[in-house]
C-alpha cells in the first residue's frame, strides 16, 4: 500500500510495468479469456490489461499476500467499480489480519478521484467501519460531512450516516450521548438546510433524527418546534417541495391535530396572499378542507381573488380549490380532477 501512496504523491512518476518489477517475476499473468466467439470483445490499454492479467493470476491462486493487497489497490485505482477486486481485497485483509485503520488512508486516495457515487467503495467503507466499531464513528461522520459538502444530496453518504447512527446507538449509547451525537445530527441538518433549503436529503435526515433518536423525545415532543422550523422554511421559499411534505409528515396519522393547528392554515394563507398560484399552498389547503377545516374570513378573502363570491355554501370551497389547481398545475390536471371526483361528501 505504501508504494501506491508514493506513486500518488509524485505526479510525474512513471508507472513501472508489473512485468518489470522483480517482486512479481515468479508470477505468470493470465490473459482475459473471452472464449472462441466472445459476446463481448474488449480491447484494453496496456496498463489496464497487464494489471488485470496479474490480478487474475493471484485471484486464481487465491494468494492472500501483501503484494496481492497492493495489486488490488492498483486495480481499484484503474476501475473502482470492479466488485470482484473489492471482495478479494477483503479476503486478503482478513487473512493478513491487517490493521483496518490503514484502510481508512486507502479510502482517501480512491474517494478523492471523484468516485463518490460508487456503490463498492461505500460498501467497503461500511464493512471496515463495522469491524472497527465505535472508534471509526467520528471519522466516518466526518468523512460523510466532507462528501456532503461537495454534493449535499449524495444518497450513499446520507445512507452511510443513517447506518452509523443506528449502528452506533446500538453499540454504545453512552458514547454517542457523550459525543452529543443525535443533537449534533439535528444541528448538522439545520446547517445544510441553511446552505440549501431545497436539499431534500437533509429534510429526510431531519425526519429520521426526530423520529429515531431516543434522546429527543420523539415526534410528539418535537412537533411544535419542527412545525415552526418548517413553516419558516416555507415562507422563505414557497416553491420548495420538501418542507410542505415534511409538514404533512409531522402530522401523519393525526388528521385532527393537523386541522386544529393554526400554524398550518396560517402558512397556507400567508403564502397565498403573496402568490395565489402557489400549487403547494393550494394543495395543503385542499387537504385541510378535506379533513374538515372550517374556512375563516382570511381564507374567504383569498378565495375571493379567484372570483369566489363567498355567498355560496361552505361546502363548495374544496371543489373550487381543485378547479384552481387544475388551471395552475396543468401538467397534473388529471390528478387534480381525480381529487375533485374523490372529495369527501361533507365537502363537495
Amino acid at each position: 500500500m505504501s508504494s501506491s501512496d508514493d506513486e500518488e504523491d509524485e505526479q510525474e512518476e512513471v508507472r513501472v510495468p508489473l512485468s518489470q518489477r522483480p517482486e512479481w517475476s515468479d508470477v505468470e499473468p493470465i490473459p482475459q479469456d473471452d472464449g472462441p466467439n466472445p459476446v463481448v470483445s474488449i480491447a484494453y490499454t496496456d496498463e489496464f490489461r497487464e494489471t488485470m492479467d496479474y490480478f487474475r493470476a493471484v485471484f486464481a491462486a487465491d494468494e492472500r499476500s501483501p503484494r496481492a493487497l497492493e495489486l488490488t489497490a492498483e486495480v481499484i485505482h484503474l476501475n473502482a467499480g470492479n466488485y470482484t477486486v473489492w471482495h478479494f481485497r477483503r479476503l486478503i485483509l482478513e487473512s493478513l489480519q491487517s490493521d483496518l485503520r490503514d484502510e481508512m488512508k486507502f479510502f482517501e486516495l480512491v474517494a478523492n478521484k471523484g468516485n463518490h457515487k460508487n456503490y463498492q467503495i461505500w460498501h467497503h467503507r461500511r464493512w471496515v467501519a463495522e469491524k472497527l466499531g465505535t472508534i471509526a464513528a467520528t471519522s466516518e461522520l466526518q468523512f460523510t460531512q466532507e462528501v456532503l459538502s461537495l454534493d449535499a444530496k449524495n444518497y450513499h453518504a446520507w445512507s452511510h450516516r443513517q447506518e452509523l447512527s443506528s449502528h452506533i446507538i446500538f453499540m454504545a449509547q453512552w458514547a454517542l450521548q457523550a459525543l452529543g451525537g443525535w443533537e449534533n445530527e439535528l444541528e448538522y441538518c439545520r446547517e445544510l438546510l441553511e446552505v440549501d433549503i431545497l436539499n431534500n436529503s437533509a429534510w429526510n435526515q431531519r425526519y429520521f433524527v426526530i423520529t429515531k433518536s431516543p434522546f429527543l423525545g420523539g415526534l410528539p415532543a418535537m412537533r411544535d418546534s419542527e412545525v415552526s422550523f418548517c413553516t419558516n422554511a416555507i415562507i422563505e421559499n414557497p416553491d420548495n417541495e420538501s418542507p410542505w411534505r415534511f409538514l404533512r409528515g409531522l402530522y401523519k396519522g393525526d388528521n385532527e391535530a393537523f386541522v386544529n393547528d393554526p400554524a398550518i392554515s396560517k402558512v397556507c394563507i400567508c403564502v397565498l396572499e403573496k402568490n395565489k398560484n402557489c400549487v403547494f399552498a393550494l394543495s395543503l389547503l385542499l387537504d385541510l378542507l378535506c379533513y374538515g377545516f372550517q374556512p375563516t374570513p382570511d381564507l374567504n378573502r383569498i378565495l375571493s381573488t379567484w372570483g369566489f363570491s363567498g355567498s355560496e355554501s361552505d361546502q363548495k370551497y374544496a371543489n373550487l380549490v381543485c378547479l384552481i389547481l387544475e388551471k395552475v398545475d396543468p401538467m397534473r390536471a388529471r390528478y387534480w380532477i381525480w381529487r375533485r371526483d374523490s372529495l369527501p361528501s361533507h365537502v363537495c
Binding site: I42, S201, K252
Partner: protein, 314 residues
C-alpha cells in the same frame, strides 16, 4: 415532435456488444446487466433476431458459480444483481431449461437475513434493490415460496417513509429507483396493500418537471432513467394518468442521438445502453406505437411474462 429511431438504436446496441474501447473495459464487470438492457430493448423494438442466442446463453452459463449465483462477467464473483439479470436474459430467450432452478433458489434463500432483508452477496450489503432482485428472480423460477415472503415484505414495508415513498433501508430518503424496487416487490408478492397509492402516486407525479422529464427525488434534475422507475411504479399502482404523458414522450425522444443511435440521460449528453433501455422501456409503458408492451414489475416484455405464467407459445 421527433420520432423513435428504431433502426439507429438497434445498430447502437449491436455495436456496444462489439465495442473495443475504454468505456466497455471499465464496465466489463457488469456486462450481465448490460446484456439484459440491450437484449430487452432489442426485443421491445422487435429486433431480437439480430442476436446469436446460442452464443449469449453459452456466455451467461459460463457466469454461473457453484453456489448457484451468477456474476457480472466471467472471472467475477456472484451477486444477486447479476443473478437476476441472468435469469431475465434466459427468460427473454426462452432458455430457462438450461439452468437448475433449485440451485439458484438456494443461493438466493441463503442471502435472506433474519429481519427479512436481502444481502447482495456474502459481504452483506443490505438494500431494498436486493429484496426486489430476490422476489423477481424467484418468481420467474416459480420458487417464490422458498423464501420467507412474509418477512421479506415486512422488511420492505419498514422502508416506507412519511411521504409515501421508499428508500434503500429504513429511514433512507425516498428515491424513485428504490420505490420501483419496493412497489414491484409488493406487486410480485401480491402485497400491494402496503402501498398508500394516493400519497405515493402524488409524490411520483410531482417528479415531472417543466421540461416534461422526470426526476428521482425533489429538486433534482430530470433523467431518462426515471422515465422507467417513476412510470413503472405509477403503472403498477394504476395512476400513470396523473402525469402528462405527451410531455414525457417528447422529453424521451429529445434525448435520442438521432445520428448514431442510443439515448442519453438528458438532451445532448452522451448515450449509453442503460439510458437507451430505460428510455425505450418508458416509451413502451406510454404505449408508443411500434414497441412491444413491457411488464412494469418484471421489466420484461409482456409476451415473455405471459409465457412464464400462462404457458403461451411465442
Amino acid at each position: 415532435m421527433g420520432e423513435l429511431e428504431i433502426e439507429k438504436h438497434t445498430q447502437f446496441i449491436m455495436s456496444v456488444e462489439k465495442k473495443k474501447d475504454f468505456d466497455s473495459m471499465v464496465m466489463e464487470h457488469l456486462r450481465m446487466s448490460g446484456a439484459y438492457w440491450g437484449l430487452t430493448t432489442l426485443d421491445l423494438m422487435g429486433k431480437l433476431d439480430a442476436v446469436n442466442r446460442e452464443e449469449v446463453v453459452s456466455w451467461v452459463l459460463q457466469c454461473q458459480h457453484d453456489c448457484g449465483g451468477f456474476s457480472g462477467n466471467v472471472g467475477h464473483d456472484p451477486h444477486i444483481l447479476y443473478t437476476l439479470s441472468a435469469i431475465q436474459i434466459l427468460a427473454l430467450l426462452d432458455k430457462l431449461d438450461t439452468i437448475d432452478a433449485d440451485k439458484i433458489s438456494a443461493y438466493i434463500v441463503g442471502l435472506q437475513q433474519e429481519d427479512g432483508s436481502f444481502a447482495g452477496d456474502e459481504w452483506g450489503e443490505i438494500d431494498t434493490r436486493f429484496s426486489y432482485c430476490a422476489v423477481c428472480c424467484l418468481s420467474i423460477l416459480h420458487r417464490l415460496d422458498k423464501i420467507d415472503v412474509g418477512k421479506a415484505i415486512s422488511y420492505v414495508a419498514s422502508c416506507k417513509n412519511f411521504d409515501g415513498g421508499f428508500g434503500c433501508t429504513p429511514g433512507g430518503e425516498s428515491h424513485a429507483g428504490q420505490i420501483f424496487c419496493c412497489v414491484s416487490a409488493f406487486a410480485i408478492s401480491g402485497a400491494l396493500t402496503h402501498v398508500d397509492r394516493d400519497l405515493l402516486g402524488w409524490w411520483l407525479c410531482e417528479r415531472q418537471v417543466k421540461s416534461g422529464g422526470l426526476n428521482g427525488r425533489p429538486e433534482k434534475l430530470a433523467d431518462v432513467c426515471y422515465s422507467w422507475w417513476v412510470l413503472s411504479s405509477l403503472t403498477i399502482i394504476e395512476r400513470v394518468h396523473w402525469i402528462d404523458k405527451e410531455k414525457l414522450k417528447t422529453f424521451i425522444l429529445d434525448c435520442q442521438d438521432k445520428e448514431h443511435g442510443g439515448i442519453s440521460d438528458r438532451p445532448d449528453d452522451a448515450v449509453d445502453v442503460f439510458h437507451t433501455f430505460f428510455g425505450i422501456a418508458g416509451l413502451s409503458l406510454l404505449e408508443y406505437p411500434g414497441l412491444k408492451p413491457i411488464d412494469p414489475a418484471y421489466a420484461l416484455p409482456v409476451h415473455v411474462v405471459d409465457r412464464l405464467f400462462f404457458g403461451q407459445p411465442h
